[in-house]
Symmetry: C2
Subunit: 207 residues, 2 copies
């Protein structure tokens, strides 16, 4: 070893960051804040068979495709994970784009349902799984009521779903509390986790 050779490699490998949360915990907003102004965190654009909403852009918010095309991609192994969320609507994470981000040394951000984390970890054992946790079911209930988009019955259904979704917590690496109105501190905590994970010796490129 020459004395001018650095003792550490210059770059660390990229990785997947999975961000999941019980419904209504605000993972979409946190995901948007995370990627804003940071070109080294690249959000994966999911593919879906649901109808595009007027405010959405194809290829930016989602890749909108038909059910036949989606099912063909499942058969081709083109998804890291996919799920039928409700009423036959399919959502999936295209594998190729994520692999491209990782190869470039950046962080591929996957904002996906709690069932997705385990599937991603099985394919990428070096993935980092972050679970956004509401402070309590009470606070989640308050948030949903204040949003005023749903009936009491729908809110009860969501809370019951949130309870079930919390059972996936042990499959995740890190838990970050997401208090309403304190999203910036949630984002800062996740950025801290990313900074630490970039220092992981197992991610260093061989010299």
């Amino acid at each position: 070893m020459s004395d001018s050779v650095p003792l550490r490699p210059v770059a660390s490998r990229g990785f997947c960051l999975v961000l999941s949360a019980p419904s209504g915990t605000g993972k979409t907003t946190v995901g948007e804040l995370l990627t804003a102004g940071d070109s080294t965190i690249v959000r994966s654009v999911s593919m879906t068979t649901r109808t595009k909403r007027p405010n959405e852009e194809d290829g930016v918010d989602y890749h909108f495709v038909g059910t036949d095309e989606f099912k063909a991609k499942i058969r081709q192994g083109a998804f890291l994970e996919w799920a039928e969320v409700y009423d036959g609507v399919l959502y999936g994470t295209p594998r190729e784009a994520v692999e491209r981000v990782i190869r470039s040394g950046d962080v591929a951000l996957l904002v996906i349902d709690v069932q997705g984390g385990r599937a991603v970890k099985a394919i990428f054992p070096e993935a980092v799984l972050v679970f956004l946790v509401p402070p309590s079911l009470d606070s989640l209930s308050t948030r949903l009521k204040r949003r005023g988009l749903e009936t009491d019955e729908e809110i009860q259904k969501r809370l019951s779903k949130a309870r079930t979704e919390m059972k996936y917590l042990p499959a995740y690496d890190y838990g970050v509390e997401n208090d309403e109105g304190k999203q910036q501190s949630t984002v800062d905590a996740i950025r801290g986790i990313i900074a630490a994970e970039r220092r992981r010796i197992s991610r260093w490129e061989p010299q």
Copy 2:
């Protein structure tokens, strides 16, 4: 589960933070900066058989003991790790004090040689091992020469030792570069690693 029950536990378990570095990389100073003003990071006081220096205080810098007492403690299993560093001088990390800090939910900081990390991880698999890395052997050589405490021959011996010590890197979890004069950014990086590790779901106390 009542709705007023928080979805996450209130506290996370304490853990061991091992800080190691090749000789001359400045781990002692970094350890002092880390614990300064942060009562949740408690430095473990090592035990040694070497002579107390005038500026040192027994029980603060080290626990100074005789060789017979040290060897009795080895036989009692009182050390997490111990080593004969040179000329028969023994250093060890008393186990009980470290366990007390972990039980209280705090971080027990162990500033120890590169050989020690593996031993600690074997006893505490949840320990976090941080390796301080000099930017290059060149920079380490410059630092040692500037310090002016050693002859050229002694410096060559230290550099050769540093090369050997770098081989322990893969046993560690995180690598943090320690540039001369940039110790505060080294300390900030380690604090970030501690903050992330406290969010690890595997450390959460069962509800």
